[in-house]
Amino acid sequence: MAETSPGFIGRSVKPHKSRRFLNGSGLYVGDIRLPDMIHAALLRSVYAHARIVAVDAREALQLEGVIGVWSGRDIEDRIAPFPESFEIHPARWLEAVKPVLRGPRPTALAQKKVHYVGEPLAIVVAVDRHKAEDGVDLIKVEYEELSAVVDPRDALSSGAPLVHDDAKDNVVFGFKVSKGSVDRELREAQHKLRERFRHHRYCAAPLECRGVVAWLEPKTNILTVWSSTQMPHLVRRQIAAQLDLAQERVRVIAPDIGGGFGPKVFVYPEEILVPYLALQLGRPVKWIEDRREHFISTAHGRDQIHDVEVAFDHEGRILALQDSFLLDNGAYNPMGLTDAYNTAAHLQGPYKIPHLSVAGTCVSTNKVPNAPYRGAGRPEAVFVIERCIDGIAAALDLDPAEVRRRNFVQPGEMPYAAGVVYRDGEPICYDSGNFPETLRLALEAAGYEELRKRQMELLRQKRYLGIGIGCYVEGTGVGSFEGATARIDGAGNLVVVTGATGHGQAHETVYAQIAADLWGMTPEDVSLIEGDTAFIPFGCGTFGSRSTVNVGSALYEASALLKDKVRRLAAHLLEANPEDLVLGGKRVFVRGLPHRSVSFAELAQAAVPGWASKLPQGWAPGLESTFYFVPPTVTWANAAHVAVIEVDVETGEIKLLNYIVAHDAGKLVNPLLVDGQIHGGVAQGIGAALYEEIVYDQNGQLLSGSFMDYLLPGATEVPKITTVHLESLSPLNPLGVKGLGEGGAIAPPAAIANALADALLPFKIQVNEIPLGPDRVLKLLVNSKRDFRQP
């Protein structure tokens, strides 16, 4: 760290830099207004699967205020199709896994067919949004309805309708990874479990829907696009590619983003259409998604069915695990195999599983595209393995915590090679962590022993307390890279620029704390520019619990380069030896001689080009450095969650009494903000476990398309969450940090399902499916072999 480290890393610095969110001065895409701006609205398919016979926009075009209407045919030769996926596949991963990759290429507007309810068919531009929607209502579409594929299992049956005309079947992605001899172990094992698990479809539902504003700046001829995205550089690349422009002519800005959580990590049709129309019309064009559209156009998540077989010994040690799963892609999966492969990579959890085989198959159905949502394949994996662990405990009449302890990778076995490759092509290697200790702390905070006693007491009164554990490991800080520029401005303050872009993570506070320690400054001396492609040429984005790891490390390296220049320039100006110089308080001074110093502001003024320059001959002007950090591989965080519930067997209602998270994400930069990330993740996981479900009928019509039908947990549904932190430093980056944004959401479905099975142990029910609303709980009880009123 810096020579005079004031130690801001690790402190709960308040997010003063985000004060704009409290007085209404945040700037979201919907808040952007430009002179002469016009508004777009989309016509979306009302059928899940249909051929488009004709689109007639004549009446719409006659409506006063409507400026134009574009349908699939109008853009066919003008906007190139999307790629089959936005995923980047490292060559080593392709070699090791040899996946099936047959993704269809979506178009910005449907051409011959519509593939899901909500797929955009036409776009109307008008003087205001009301007029644009009036225009949409006047477009007549003649459809020829086709049979819809709704159940992913039906998608595989022979004779199933083809979601995509040119495909040979409905399989688009697939892979298999394995180690050891699973078949032999399963054949020979004394103890086996065989289960089908379903992790249903739900969605991220950020409070801000998507939105795009595009404008061709007349002076520079730069196409400026504001989008509610987690990936401004990817959006820029796609606009350039699909509209045949040089990337340098496109500037994408992610302003304040009202929540992302995954579905804003790729590029949507509107992000291409709106810029296209701004170019066509020469006026700024705005489109803001409404909530009704959001449910039928923004990607959903999860939606996997697993058939699992586990072999274990008489002490509960897992010998082998075989899993074959289906992922319901919907009509497209813009992130390819990301979720499915993450599921495979995280299936072993913190446990030693000597023999493993996982096969994933992603199929097309006539539903909204499926893409990463907070956890991205991990909650599904954790649901499977954690239910299996509890299944083993139930089969052998052991404490579920004890079965976990018997299977954990032990601290002495770190770093631990898990035997399969990660999505980045590197062999999975748990780099640090103490899994037994994480669980011990979670159980201690929950008061596990007392809870077990209390459970027995209540059972005598026919009350059903359940305690459920969910443990996991999470590969965080994934590549392929992220960059940071460190710059000393004319006032001697530090400006940090990065391509990652926050959407509620308080990056401006977190990076300022890191920079403050690196430079011997205070966080107030640091400002952040992110989410704007004009300020840094390359960027990935914020997703996958990666920004602190990648940006923090890039900032560390960029700072080291810049500090070297600062020190050498100061040495030149002070006529001192660079080794004798110390940085601190925005000055460089000679060690032991504080009066012999030069301020950062003076250095910045000395580093200009030309007549005012005081740089030594031949030095490049400016005080800035950029570094692109490429992580060697992911760094593994881990956690143990404990859910405490009471089940009302008359109504089927689950009441969450307590929720505990023991979490190890390496060095914590700001514990207060970390807790906020965990609370929010857990709340989303609670929603998944108990309330939220995307429901389609047999025709592919969405039945849960508003917040009346799709229930987000409110303040009365989320209990107080207790957090305990461990800090096993990451050896893979200079700050020792790991990622944690997703963690909270990964384990609640598993922990709550385990708690339910635990509460209802007297009835021997299997909890293989979520969400666990009262209807499902009652059904489980009714179907159980024992009369639930007379245990």
């Binding site: 308040k14 997010p15 003063h16 985000s18 004060r19 704009r20 969110f21 409290l22 007085n23 209404g24 001065s25 945040g26 700037l27 979201y28 919907g30 808040d31 207004r33 009301h130 009036d134 991220a204 539902a205 950020p206 409070l207 801000e208 829907c209 304040d256 983003i257 009202g258 929540g259 959580f261 409404d290 909530r291 959407h503 509620g504 993570q505 308080a506 207060l672 903000l673 807790d675 906020g676 609370h679 929010g680 993740g681 857990v682 709340a683 989303q684 508003s706 917040f707 009346m708 987000l712 409110g714 303040a715 009365t716 989320v718 107080k720 969450i721 909270g744």
Partner: protein, 165 residues
């Protein structure tokens, strides 16, 4: 759809006159006509609470009220909340509470929560945690899990009580 009407509304103590179509909501009037974009739209169906403002002293969902229905009324939005503050940053004690406890992340739902809490603390200056959760249950937040928002309300209630002693 046409037949625009003249309306007169007082927002944050300032009087505005506007010519609006009857179908324009109060939320759209505040945002698009007056440029007060602190009031956010999360669902436009009256469920999420992000667009909550005070209308004649009571919270309303500004997405469910037409601007013409608000004619002659008095509105308080998040932009007006800070103006009542004595804090050097122009933050009302409720806003300060959200900062102190980090009762916000992406900030999108925050203005709606602030307005709900403003009304709530006038009615109940010393609420319990359960009462706070009950009252906040009509506002959705997707980032915080509510825990720090509850803490923010407790912090603000305490600060307001102390300032009145």
């Amino acid at each position: 759809m046409n037949g625009k009407q003249v309306i007169e509304i007082t927002v944050n103590g300032k009087s505005y006159e506007g010519l609006v179509e009857p179908r324009v909501t109060l939320a759209d009037f505040l945002r698009d006509h007056l440029g007060l974009t602190g009031t956010h739209l999360g669902c436009e169906q009256g469920i999420c609470g992000s667009c909550t403002v005070l209308f004649n002293g009571e919270t309303v969902r500004s997405c469910l009220l037409l601007a013409v229905q608000a004619n002659g009324g008095t509105i308080l939005t998040v932009e007006g909340l800070g103006a009542m503050a004595e804090d050097k940053h122009g933050l009302h004690p409720i806003q300060q509470g959200f900062l102190e406890t980090v009762g916000f992340q992406c900030g999108f739902c925050t203005p709606g929560f602030l307005m709900t809490v403003y009304e709530f603390l006038k009615e109940n200056p010393s609420p319990s945690e359960d009462e706070i959760r009950e009252r906040l249950s009509g506002n959705l937040c997707r980032c915080t899990g509510y825990q720090n928002i509850v803490a923010a309300v407790l912090w603000a209630a305490e600060r307001i009580r102390v300032s009145k002693e």
